[in-house]
């Protein structure tokens, strides 16, 4: 019997000559390019992911430090001695400041451990309270399909058939909630409607005035919640607060620390506690106050509002320069959403023929922090449900990238992006 393998290399089949496969010889060694590593500093970094989180404002850092360990200032606000009173005073002051900026009464601000927790309290707490007040009568929930997962997944988790289910309202191609679909969803038995103030991925400002009018007319019993986490850094809040019953914000999106959020619960809107315990926050959210975090949140929000006019002008110009620069220098890209309808910091672009997951890696290496879709707990990039809700197909949704600017963004950041993105796109398309 003859062996299956010829040692002489005879019988070469066509098309599969010796040597490396596709394009190997054209390759350069990868190692040299991979200079930027964890722990190495000094290389240019353009941080363009402010919608994910912002660096803390110096005012906020300064404000919070004494409440971490300062003599007489580190106390638990739920007590009666000097240290407690001091801490309580700080929380009260912060609450007053934040309430004022948001256009709410002092007692309407409930501090939470995050924006996500505020959303959970709004949704679960409303259903709990309504179950009591209506003797358990069921009614459906309505939210938009482009909500942040903090809202979307909470609604999905609680909206069993027992309460009438969840109605997810689609958005139009420009990234705005489809009001006709919303009207259709808002039947009189609806218990809760949640529509975000600003979309976290696209940056589009939702027409909450219209939403509110529509909900009040068609579903007068419904509680209206808005996730205003992306609105607070950019928009004048009182007009938004005035249109809703519940409103969520998160400190780290406007220069405050991570791990602090707030839910505005308008007077007269019933809400059941979700986190049980010592009955803090007027029995709406138990747990010892994150005093330093709350103080820093107030300081960050105050500074944000004080500088807002300047920030808006400056960041809008930077963002427009970034978007127009990219549109001018790269073929086959388009802007997602109507820029005129967005908050100043958001830019969202779709790069045809490029996988955004790979693009994020190469941009990171080139010193640009941007994001694609929503990062899941494992760190993988999920296809954007927002882009899918806007009617993009999976491939298009997998080629979108968000650059989000903030108060610390500079012309140098934009220059750096404009310098490196074309090369990265060309490389990935090759």
């Amino acid at each position: 019997m003859k062996p299956l393998i010829s040692k002489s290399g005879k019988g070469v089949m066509p098309g599969a000559g010796p040597g490396p496969g596709r394009g190997h010889s054209a390759r350069q060694t990868a190692g040299a390019r991979f200079g930027v590593r964890l722990g190495q500093t000094g290389a240019m970094r353009a941080y363009l992911d402010h919608a994910a989180t912002t660096p803390m404002r110096p005012e906020a850092v300064e404000a919070m430090l004494p409440y971490l360990s300062g003599p007489g200032m580190f106390g638990n606000p739920s007590g009666s001695h000097h240290e407690s009173r001091r801490a309580r005073l700080a929380v009260d002051d912060a609450r007053e400041q934040i309430a004022g900026i948001l256009g709410a009464d002092l007692g309407e601000v409930v501090f939470t451990g995050s924006g996500t927790e505020a959303d959970n309290l709004a949704i679960i707490g409303t259903l709990g309270a309504r179950a009591v007040s209506t003797g358990g009568r069921a009614g459906p929930i309505v939210c938009t399909a482009m909500e942040h997962h903090a809202v979307l997944n909470t609604c999905r988790a609680v909206a069993g058939p027992g309460i009438g289910g969840l109605r997810e309202v689609r958005s139009d191609k420009s990234g705005m909630v489809d009001l006709d679909s919303l009207a259709e969803a808002c039947t009189p038995d609806v218990r809760l409607v949640s529509v975000m103030a600003v979309n976290n991925e696209i940056g589009t400002v939702q027409p909450l005035d219209d939403v509110s009018r529509l909900v009040r007319t068609l579903a007068p019993d419904a509680v209206l919640h808005t996730d205003a986490v992306q609105a607070a850094p950019w928009l004048d809040m009182p007009p938004i607060t005035a249109t809703v019953d519940l409103l969520s914000v998160s400190a780290h999106k406007f220069g405050g620390p991570k791990g602090v959020g707030a839910l505005v619960v308008r007077n007269g809107v019933p809400i059941e506690e979700v986190i049980h315990g010592g009955g803090q926050e007027r029995e709406r959210r138990s747990g010892t106050h994150n005093v330093a975090g709350i103080v820093a949140m107030a300081a960050a929000l105050s500074a944000t509002v004080a500088e807002r006019a300047d920030t808006t002008t400056r960041v809008t110009r930077l963002r427009d320069r970034l978007v127009e620069g990219l549109l001018a220098s790269i073929a086959g890209i388009r802007e997602i959403g109507d820029r005129m309808g967005k908050v100043p910091g958001h830019a969202h672009l779709q790069f045809a023929g490029v996988e955004s997951e790979a693009m994020v890696v190469l941009l990171d290496e080139a010193g640009v922090a941007a994001s694609a879709g929503a990062a899941c707990s494992s760190g993988a990039v999920e296809p954007s449900h927002v882009l899918l809700a806007m009617g993009l197909d999976k491939e298009a949704a997998g080629s979108g990238l968000r650059f989000s600017l903030g108060t610390t963004s500079t012309d140098a950041d934009v220059d750096h992006v404009l310098a490196v993105v074309p090369g990265v796109v060309a490389r990935l398309r090759n």
Binding site: K2, P3, L4, I5, G19, F34, E357, G379
Partner: protein, 353 residues
Amino acid sequence: MSGGVDSSVAAALLVEELGRDRVVGATLKLWGGSSDSGCCSVADVEDARRVADQLGMVHHVFNFTAEFEARVVNPYIEGHATGRTPNPCIECNRHLKFDRLFDRAWSLGFDAVATGHHARRTTTEDGRHRLIRGADPLKDQSYVLAMLGQEQLARSRFPVGRLTKAEVRQEAARLGLRTATKPDSQDVCFIRSDEGKDGFLGDRLPLHDGRLIDDATGEDLGPVPAVELVTVGQRRGMGHGLDGRRRYVTAVDVPARRVRIGTPEAANAPGVELHTVTWIDEDRTRVGELPECSAIAQCSAHGRPVACTVRRSETGRLAVTFATAQRRIAPGQTVALYDPANPDVVIGSGIAA
């Protein structure tokens, strides 16, 4: 990096060899559904990331769930719906690890992809790559890599292939890697152990009752539940014949909902025909040039290698004839071929028709 000990040590060996600035860890998120084994859970990703951090290298997670579902999970389900038993690990290697991940690594500027497979790659003087069984015969994974070709091997590295499993664990312990004592993954990564294969498929396929047919007489022997879950060669649940001997599945006809069973002899076959044939080194493989060649066949991940001859059949498939009759190979199963002159060397693979 699956978060297991083999890929952890593979990464460590590479960092040692190349330096941490030339190696990046990648974990594939492959399955969106619930899973408790393999490389799909958040806990496993965390293990991988912690090991990468410890080795001082960057770690990425790539989301390939869509391709995994399209290329591995759906074909697995469809296979069972039509009486075939595909090997999902091989299809994952073929389409995900050694294709999709290769493309991703390529576009990110990497020269090669290393995995924690127990197999060895050698390169001859004239630049041809060979795939060799792993040094640990009990953990050898050359079977699930047998579908690789020169192009993929050129860019593949298997750093733990020269070690036994015990040595891998020793190395992990020496380096203080958190995965040193982590149990080996078992079974199919996207199937939860509490649901099992039958539960997984049962949730995704309409299952049909069928009839058991005597392979020798054609007699109807009674009902059999869920013909989609029956595999050729299966013994479990097939009972005994009047002769007191066990019965084996000899053929499954899902559309007709008939399962044929027979004696151990009837359950054996003299050979098998393969489609989707691949060669490790196509240029040197002489099938087609010669009327018939000798080889060694391995028909499952840890199956016993058997001598065989192979030739091109009239249909263009590869006809494998065993030296002695073997238990029938279920359609969809992969057969790996090894070099009789050097039985650790993989020659190629094919899928049983």
